[in-house]
């Protein structure tokens, strides 16, 4: 049926001089032409209502999308804050210890998940290293093995040396480190956000794969840790 209309319309357009004997038919054809090209009041109002509905939808979408994206566009969520890990006397020199801290950003219903662990290594005196618990590969909790002087990841066998540098396994870099400072008699770290490769919470440069002779040299260097300061024994 639409094809017939189309043909009628086209033939009329091709022969504009052809006399229309029946006025009714001409009116009807005109109405169909208007309808088929979409220039009728109905079509206009339909498009207008589509526009109005679209505008309402857009206005409603702004708060909805803003709410959804809130956690990722919030500015203060990207900033860490300084918190106290404890008195320096808690950390004997030459040892690496597990410390729990309450995350500076929590909700009242976080429970134990608001507590975050980290590894504190006191090299000597006021020289510290504070490592995130999360393996740089997939975030699993690494554990310090004092006898072998290695951090080992239970998930996929990632291994790190005592100074957090990558020793083996899938991680492409060393352990994430928290910024730290010694304030009076306490150790403070800058924390608040789960360290991932995206946030790059480490101050260490990315490490390269150990190869050949350099790895042997590195291992021998680890056997005798080089002192970080002139007077400390290391």
């Amino acid at each position: 049926v639409p094809n017939n209309d189309e043909n009628t319309r086209r033939s009329n357009a091709m022969n504009p001089n052809e006399p229309n004997t029946q006025n009714e038919q001409a009116v009807q054809t005109e109405a169909e032409r208007v309808r088929s090209t979409g220039h009728s009041r109905r079509a206009f109002l339909f498009k207008l209502s589509l526009l109005a509905n679209g505008a309402v939808g857009a206005v409603l979408a702004v708060p909805i999308i803003g709410y959804l994206l809130g956690p990722s566009i919030k500015k203060d969520s990207s900033g860490n804050s300084w918190i106290t890990l404890g008195p320096l006397s808690d950390f004997p020199e030459g040892e690496t210890r597990l410390v729990n801290f309450r995350n500076p950003v929590t909700t009242a219903w976080d429970g134990q998940t608001g507590d975050v662990p980290c590894w504190v290594r006191r090299v000597s005196g006021s020289t510290f290293q504070v490592f995130a618990i999360n393996c740089a590969h997939l975030g699993c909790p690494v554990r310090w093995f004092a006898q072998s002087k290695l951090f080992l990841c239970p998930c996929h066998g990632g291994a790190y040396y005592a100074d957090g540098t990558r020793a083996s396994g899938p991680p492409e870099r060393g352990l994430f480190e928290y910024e730290h400072r010694v304030a009076g008699d306490t150790l403070m770290i800058s924390a608040g956000k789960m360290p991932t490769l995206a946030t790059n919470a480490s101050v260490e440069p990315p490490l390269t794969q150990l190869t050949g002779a350099s790895s042997a040299k590195r291992l021998s260097a680890l056997e005798q840790p080089k002192p970080r300061c002139g007077s400390c024994p290391g």
């Binding site: 956690p71 995350n103 789960m194 991932t196 946030t199």
Partner: protein, 332 residues
């Protein structure tokens, strides 16, 4: 007793006159399929659906007790296990059901692949099925997060570490996933919303599309060595009658609405007019039988389908349940 039955039929008809859902549902349930498809190999889609319904029901029951709060989630499950009557059993059903559902969905996928059932005209059924697999895996991941034990916590850490590797927007994506700077309360609530509202909603909608296409396109034929299913001859072989309808195959005028008198494949006329078809001998095995339908409470009282339900009925009648008699009785 007959009075009661009559009353029941009247009630059914009252609803049916207004809803109009019963007749199409019955037609869909009792539509004919090739006899050689009455095999256990075809059961896994139904099995996955049964498991999905089971998961929805047990999930709703668990939600009566479970508390989606980071500080309370684990202890609410301890309460469920030890203080709620049969709570441990329902939790186990939900947990094992999820394992079984993934297994069954994977077996279903393997069967569809091996039978070639993903080919024309069921490509979209396969594509949606792939999304259903992903959604099922998403349900499994978000579901194990809700326990909020050590596995959940470090599993989330793995998820965050994977997401953090996304170039450029990894950081914001991690924040979006965790709902905050660390894995904590907001993480659990958003995974709860995903597990209970978002993914099930999408999943059920896509299962509806998946089932609709199974009914619309018909079940795939049993694969036979040497019988090639070609796109160019598919419509002619599977969706048009090979022989004229028998004289008994007549529907009384007025029984069928004119809206039903249309072809199963109105938009693909070009597909049915090329390439030779399968030799006649190869299709002799494909006879039809009627599967008993389990959901026919009042089949005796319903307007029965025309008398063309016979073994000699052309195969097109089986392929389109919503038009069970249109093709066999009215097509040329």
């Amino acid at each position: 007793m007959p009075g009661l039955k009559q009353k029941g039929i009247e009630v059914y008809n009252w609803f049916e006159q207004r809803l109009g859902l019963g007749t199409p549902a019955i037609e869909a349930a009792e539509h004919e399929v090739p006899e050689n498809t009455s095999s256990w190999w075809y059961v896994f889609g139904s099995a996955a659906t049964v498991l999905l319904v089971l998961q929805v029901m047990t999930g709703i029951l668990l939600a009566l007790v479970y508390t989606p709060s980071a500080g309370r989630a684990w202890s609410s499950l301890q309460f469920l296990d030890h203080n709620v009557t049969l709570g441990w059993f329902l939790r186990a059903m939900h947990g094992w059901g999820s394992d079984f559902m993934i297994a069954i969905v994977l077996i279903h996928m393997a069967q569809v692949f091996l039978f070639g059932a993903y080919k024309f005209p069921r490509e979209l059924t396969w594509i949606i099925g792939v999304f259903l697999l992903l959604l099922t895996l998403g349900m499994a991941f978000t579901g194990q997060v809700l326990r909020f034990d050590q596995d959940s916590y470090w599993g989330l850490g793995i998820g965050a570490s994977i997401v953090s590797r996304v170039p450029f927007i990894g950081g914001p994506l991690v924040d979006l996933m965790l709902g905050g700077p660390i894995i904590a309360g907001p993480t659990l609530t958003r995974f709860f919303a995903l597990h209970v509202f978002v993914i099930p909603g999408i999943l059920l909608g896509m299962v509806g599309l998946h089932l609709w296409m199974v009914l619309r396109l018909g079940i795939n034929d049993w694969p036979m060595p040497g019988r090639i299913v070609r796109k160019s001859t598919y419509v002619r072989e599977y969706h048009s009658p090979r022989r004229p309808a028998s004289p008994s195959c007549r529907t009384p005028p007025g029984r069928m609405p004119s809206s039903q008198r249309r072809s199963c494949w109105p938009s693909w006329p070009a597909l049915s007019s090329s390439a030779p078809s399968v030799p006649p001998g190869s299709r002799t095995r494909r006879s039809f039988k009627r599967r008993p339908s389990p959901i026919l409470p009042f089949s005796g009282s319903m307007p029965s389908s025309p008398t063309c339900r016979q073994a000699s009925r052309p195969r097109s009648c089986s392929s389109h349940p919503s038009l069970p008699s249109a093709r066999c009785c009215f097509s040329p």
